[in-house]
């Protein structure tokens, strides 16, 4: 049956499906592949209109050879998903010029469906998903079209039929999606290459964080177990601890040094709060955690200074659950070695700052708390918090503290740690994010790159590591609200300049928040459903046994089958009921069949009416007329409806007569 030729409209639908499948791949395919594909579509159209014949096998051979060479040049030995999809797309394009039989069309459509699914390896947005759904509809219509009579060319029927197929399939899909267990990958595959991303780097020099402040790209999103975010001043998202200073930049401790540090002891003073973080791909291994995480999640490592590192760089969006405490004591005792580690400074440079620190140390009688207060007061009185602090040269800290006195958070954090260490107080820089925008529609906190922040931790005798944010002393509003609001209120040109157009009006902001909430929900419930599945199913089914799963699978499937059959039955009944002629004819058969004789299955309507005419002489004329009309009607070609209209009153009269007779 597969050697059947397909209809002309089916050929066009095939071409349309192919183009629709190709479109979302355009973003990454090497340009020659779409061009070749379009050329093939053109060739097929020329064949379709009869201008060109089907190509000679030699031409096909040359095309196959050329595209193989092209593939090797474009992808080399890299056999990732890109190469696979490119190969399939090329195969489809070359198959296009030989679709003629149903079998060719079937292969084309099946492979198209596969290529369509691979779109999700590259794009995962709601819009792409909606688009793919539409293309599935088109593909099904094309599949219907190749199975209809080759002479049929109407466009609508295949689409209608495909819709009727797709609609009941949607609930089935939903049920399967919810219940189907998510398996571990059978073998490891290469995920498509990471995109260029912005984010925190593993060192901090002046200007690094303020660069990030110019980006409003999403960094991560957090939803809390009790839907209650911590107050703004407590929203410190810890990513890295930088303890090594080289005179200009702050770095993480080297692996050697890290091995010598003990894991810092955490004494919690409140109940931990659970939350879930969805991190955008950063290309870096470090993870965000609310100050301070109690334990790491699966696939993560906790550093000695309580930051989290993933086992692999984050090339895709990553979701994990953590618990954090807000009141704690961290490492109440420091060893000599650790003290030294956190007092490290270059031998020379920034002499004026060192002198200042020594002077403050004397002023505070060697009490670290007083030193800290002095430091904060100093920043508060004479410093400006800005995104455009100017360029710092050698002895940057001196320059910052005594000349420019303008800086962003990394300047304040770096200078603070330098001063503290100069005064013999162990301190370190912590980078991460601070603040976040609460989305009330989906109840989550959203942090963007401009929320990037740097602060310090100072070790105090008896208290352990204490968070100290010099930015809070300079610009408390920054900590309480957000960087955007702070700079917008102050009309900082550097800030608004880098960011371009931004929605200001209230309704526009709400709209944007709703849209973002929707995106977040999409990510949480669809893209990353596996992390919700267990809890959700436990909630719904009250447990996760086999029989519960099977029951849950069977019930909706049965419901769908019943619904489809019911719908068809209804259509059938409606069809009978709708036609007044058929209805009356049936009633007449029933009534007269009871009174005289049943119509035998082998008896024609006409024959039966004639037989009745002999038994019921009073109505003989009518019965015979009806028989004649019925005969005409059955053998007529076109006058169908008109004859029926003539028969209707006759039927009514006979029915009435039959009732009176009774």
């Amino acid at each position: 049956m597969n050697r059947v030729q397909i209809s002309r409209s089916a050929v066009i639908l095939q071409l349309a499906t192919f183009i629709a499948v190709l479109l979302p791949h355009l973003s990454w395919l090497p340009i020659w592949i779409p061009l070749l594909a379009l050329a093939m579509v053109g060739v097929r159209l020329m064949i379709h209109t009869g201008r060109w014949p089907f190509p000679h096998w030699l031409i096909k051979l040359v095309l196959i050879a050329a595209s193989s060479v092209g593939l090797i040049i474009s992808f080399g030995g890299n056999a990732g998903p890109e190469a696979m999809v490119a190969l399939l797309v090329l195969g489809l394009a070359l198959k296009l010029i030989e679709i003629y039989h149903r079998r060719d069309a079937l292969i084309l459509l099946f492979v198209s469906l596969f290529v369509l699914a691979t779109v999700f390896l590259f794009h995962e947005s709601v819009w792409v998903a909606a688009y793919v759904l539409l293309v599935v509809w088109l593909l099904l219509a094309a599949l219907c079209a190749i199975h209809q009579r080759p002479g049929r060319t109407a466009w609508l029927p295949p689409f209608k039929r495909a819709f009727a197929l797709l609609l009941p399939a949607l609930p089935l899909m939903l049920v399967l999606f919810l219940l189907f267990p998510r398996l571990e990958p059978f073998w490891s595959v290469e995920i498509s290459s990471p995109r260029a991303t912005t984010g925190l780097s593993d060192s901090m020099s002046p200007g690094d964080v303020s660069d990030l402040a110019l980006s409003d790209a999403l960094a991560f999103r957090v939803s809390f177990d009790n839907d209650q975010p911590p107050v703004p001043v407590q929203r410190y998202w810890r990513a890295l601890v930088l303890s090594q200073f080289d005179g200009r930049s702050w770095h993480q401790a080297s692996p050697d040094q890290r091995n010598r540090l003990r894991e810092e002891k955490l004494i919690t003073e409140t109940e931990p709060q659970g939350y879930e973080i969805v991190m955008e791909p950063s290309g870096m291994p470090w993870l965000m955690a609310l100050d301070l995480p109690v334990a790491q999640a699966q696939g993560q490592r906790m550093t000695p200074f309580r930051t989290l590192v993933s086992s692999a760089p984050l090339d895709r969006r990553t979701q994990y659950r953590l618990e954090s405490v807000q009141d704690y004591q961290l490492q109440p005792l420091l060893t000599q070695q650790e003290q030294q580690h956190y007092l490290q400074l270059p031998q020379q440079g920034n002499d004026r700052s060192r002198a200042l620190a020594r002077q403050w140390q004397q002023d505070s009688d060697g009490q670290p708390e007083r030193f800290v207060r002095q430091l904060m007061n100093h920043f508060n009185r004479e410093f400006e918090y800005t995104l455009s602090p100017g360029v710092l040269g050698r002895d940057g800290i001196d320059q910052f503290l005594f000349q420019t006195r303008r800086g962003y958070c990394e300047h304040f954090a770096g200078a603070s740690v330098f001063l503290l260490r100069s005064a013999g107080i162990p301190a370190r820089v912590v980078t991460g994010y601070q603040g976040g925008e609460w989305n009330p529609y989906e109840n989550y906190l959203q942090l963007r790159q401009y929320d990037a922040h740097a602060w310090t931790e100072v070790w105090l005798e008896g208290q352990g590591w204490v968070r100290l944010d010099p930015t809070a002393a300079v610009a408390p509003e920054r900590i309480e609200s957000s960087a955007v609001q702070y700079f917008q209120q102050r009309g900082d040109t550097a800030f608004s300049g880098g960011r371009g157009f931004r929605l200001q009006a209230d309704w526009a902001r709400q709209l944007q928040q709703r849209y973002e909430a929707f995106n977040f929900a999409w990510h949480r419930w669809v893209l990353n459903y596996q992390s919700q599945q267990t809890d959700l199913l436990k909630d719904w089914l009250g447990g996760l046994d086999y029989w519960r799963m099977i029951l849950a699978l069977m019930l909706p499937a049965t419901a769908v089958v019943a619904a489809v059959i019911g719908w068809q039955l209804r259509q059938r009944l409606k069809g009978v009921r709708r036609d007044p002629f058929e209805r009356r004819l049936q009633r007449l058969q029933a009534v007269l069949g009871q009174q005289f004789e049943e119509r035998q299955p082998s008896q024609s309507m006409t024959g039966w009416l004639r037989a009745l005419a002999l038994q019921w002489p009073e109505q003989r004329a009518r019965l015979e007329q009806l028989a004649r009309l019925d005969e005409q009607q059955r053998y007529a070609r076109d006058a169908d409806q008109q004859l029926r209209r003539q028969m209707l009153p006759l039927l009514d009269q006979l029915l009435r007569a039959a009732r009176e007779r009774r």
């Binding site: 596969f114 999700f120 599949l143 797709l166 949607l170 089935l172 990958p185």
Partner: protein
């Protein structure tokens, strides 16, 4: 694939035997779920393979959207099974009649197919076991069609089981059923040209005598033309004179009748019957009166359509038992 095909063929054979045995022959049959079978086609098997590949991709890339499209395709697969089934279900077949033919030709069988309103079964394939397939779309609520079946030998031909199958709408499933319709067609022997078996009485025989007889027919008068008369009898001259259509009457009643006799022919039984058939046709065409003698069976000389049919029927059923 080979194994699958063998299995499929065997299964279909078994289904055919079962269905034909279970349901008696009848004039009219409505297709219900009791008798419709449904299995994936080869394309359906390919689709299942595609589903597995999609699922593998979803699992390996841990991509929930690929899971989703896999499940959607699986849903469509199941729904298409229902569609294919309902494309066949509810169709009512009614046997109308079998059209007689000659052995070696295709016998036509007329059926009427109707279905419930509100649906349009498409691409239904009907085929008798030995017959030619026919693909139909039932666009009207009832439709007549003629199916052909090879008629290898003379006698009554019963076309055997009628297979209805459909792969519509997606070609992923094939629904099929067997019905046993009460239909039969009379198959006449295959005409075989040859010499005229000697007529009764006189020494005249063969072609020459016929020619002569034609020439000696006496013109007896004109009669009003009736539909069914030969056009050759029309007297065009009187028509030209405005007297309407008149038919010439010849006095051939007086000429001796021709007897076609099985005994006179040469060859084996079938060949003799074939030759007689040829002459029955030939003489009917020439509007000659003839009689038929098949052993003890005798059909008196007569002329006309009915006579021709009677003669052919006797020839078809000669020696085939008391079905005449």
């Amino acid at each position: 694939m080979f194994l699958a095909d063998t299995l499929r063929t065997r299964l279909q054979g078994r289904v055919r035997r079962w269905a034909l045995k279970r349901y008696p022959r009848s004039r009219s049959v409505t297709l219900t779920q009791n008798r419709i079978f449904i299995l994936p086609t080869r394309a359906g098997a390919g689709f299942m393979l595609l589903l597995i590949l999609l699922l593998l991709m979803g699992v390996n890339y841990e991509n929930n959207l690929i899971y989703a499209i896999t499940f959607l395709a699986a849903g469509v697969f199941l729904v298409s099974c229902l569609h294919t089934y309902s494309n066949l279900a509810g169709i009512r077949l009614q046997a109308l009649r079998g059209n007689n033919c000659f052995a070696g030709e295709q016998a036509g069988f007329e059926l009427e197919l109707d279905h419930q309103a509100g649906r349009q079964p498409e691409q239904i394939r009907l085929q008798f076991e030995q017959g030619t397939p026919l693909l139909v779309d039932l666009e009207k609520s009832s439709q007549r069609l003629e199916l052909f079946c090879v008629a290898p030998a003379r006698g009554w031909l019963q076309p055997g089981g009628l297979k209805l199958e459909t792969c519509f709408p997606l070609g992923l499933f094939r629904a099929w059923t067997w019905v046993n319709l009460e239909l039969q067609a009379l198959v006449y022997p295959r005409p075989l040209a040859g010499e005229l078996p000697a007529p009764e009485g006189g020494g005249q025989s063969g072609e020459a005598s016929l020619q002569q007889r034609d020439g000696t027919d006496d013109f007896t008068g004109l009669e009003r033309f009736q539909p069914g008369m030969s056009l050759r009898q029309i007297d065009w001259k009187s028509y030209a004179r405005g007297l309407g259509l008149q038919a010439k009457q010849f006095g051939d009643q007086q000429s001796p009748d021709i007897w076609l006799d099985l005994e006179v022919c040469a060859g084996n039984l079938e060949q003799r019957l074939s030759r007689l058939t040829y002459w029955v046709l030939e003489l009917s065409k020439r509007e000659q009166r003839f009689g038929l003698r098949l052993g003890a069976l005798e059909l008196p000389p007569e002329q006309g359509e009915n006579h021709r049919y009677e003669a052919l029927k006797r020839l078809a059923l000669y020696g085939r038992g008391g079905q005449a």
